[in-house]
């Protein structure tokens, strides 16, 4: 009897990304339970985690957490490879690209609120672009675009303020979230 052992080395970075992705997935699931008047309008709570990862770890880690969140969220919600999954992917991708460009803005003037609002617009922009091109080509979608943009502005700003509060200092209630991102060890 031969025993083959496949060893996959797990670095501390992998563990950290897995932990953060779990947090983002948890928020995605919690959010899916919130009823929404218009499909697609959601607070985007997982973006809080993505933004924290971006600011404290880096863009690559944020991209990993985002991709894992979309994939695992799709599996857990039963929407893997369904239209909603692709919309989510398109939004996450566009939002990451926007964040990749926006993080080079001078941080003296542009804080987490800017990044969050821009990411939210990127998110909804990516989703609308895919939906308009693939799912619902036609004028109907554009009639709803002001609603989506307004939601992105409001939720983006709120999420940004939450991120700024979490970064400013661990509040009693925010301490737990902060502990999920340990100081990076070189």
């Amino acid at each position: 009897m031969t025993r083959s052992v496949i060893e996959l080395p797990v670095s501390s970075d992998d563990r950290r990304i897995a932990r953060l992705a779990a947090l983002a997935i948890g928020l995605t699931l919690a959010e899916a339970a919130i009823p929404s008047p218009v499909p697609g309008v959601k607070p985007g709570l997982a973006n809080i985690v993505i933004l924290l990862v971006l600011l404290q770890v880096g863009w690559r880690a944020a991209a990993w957490v985002s991709a894992l969140r979309v994939l695992a969220g799709g599996i857990l919600l039963g929407s893997l490879f369904a239209p909603g999954f692709w919309l989510s992917s398109a939004g996450a991708l566009a939002s990451l690209l926007v964040l990749g460009a926006a993080r080079h803005l001078p941080s003296r003037y542009f804080g987490p609120v800017s990044l969050s609002v821009l990411a939210a617009f990127g998110h909804i922009g990516g989703q609308l672009a895919l939906a308009g091109w693939w799912l619902l080509p036609g004028a109907a979608l554009f009639k709803l675009s002001p609603l989506f943009a307004a939601a992105a502005l409001i939720f983006g700003a709120v999420n940004g303020v939450i991120v700024a509060r979490l970064l400013a200092g661990p509040a009693p209630s925010g301490g737990q979230s902060m502990s999920c991102i340990p100081p990076s060890t070189p």
């Binding site: 003037y109 609120v113 036609g138």
Partner: protein
């Protein structure tokens, strides 16, 4: 570290501007929902502006081709010498019209409410 920095305010204002512009663009004005095509004064075809199609209408000079897309319509090709109706480009608003007079073909956009009771050309 302050929660809101100078750039954040400008980003928020730009976001508000975008929302307002989108609102004006999507809900403002009276966007048409159907196209009325006439040849020699007679209605040849009334088409809803929902899906893309091309309509060919024959006039005294030749064939006028009209293209309809979701939310807009235009005259693509016309045998008229000055090409005025082709140069008008896409029509989106209710009440807009492109007239190809030499070929006696017209394309008019209609909405839920019409801006005029009647128009004499």
């Amino acid at each position: 570290m302050r929660l809101l920095r100078a750039g954040d305010v400008s980003v928020l204002l730009a976001g508000c501007g975008l929302v307002i512009a989108l609102t004006w663009w999507a809900w403002g004005g009276d966007r048409g929902d159907s196209a009325v095509i006439r040849a020699a004064g007679q209605v040849v075809k009334t088409a809803a502006l929902t899906h893309a199609q091309t309509v060919s209408v024959d006039g005294p000079l030749g064939t006028t081709r009209i293209e309809i897309e979701p939310g807009r319509a235009r005259v693509v090709a016309d045998p008229s010498p000055r090409q005025l109706c082709v140069k008008q480009g896409w029509l989106t608003q209710s009440g807009q019209a492109a007239l190809c007079l030499p070929n006696q073909v017209s394309l008019e956009i209609r909405g839920r409410t019409s801006a005029y009771d009647t128009l004499g050309y």
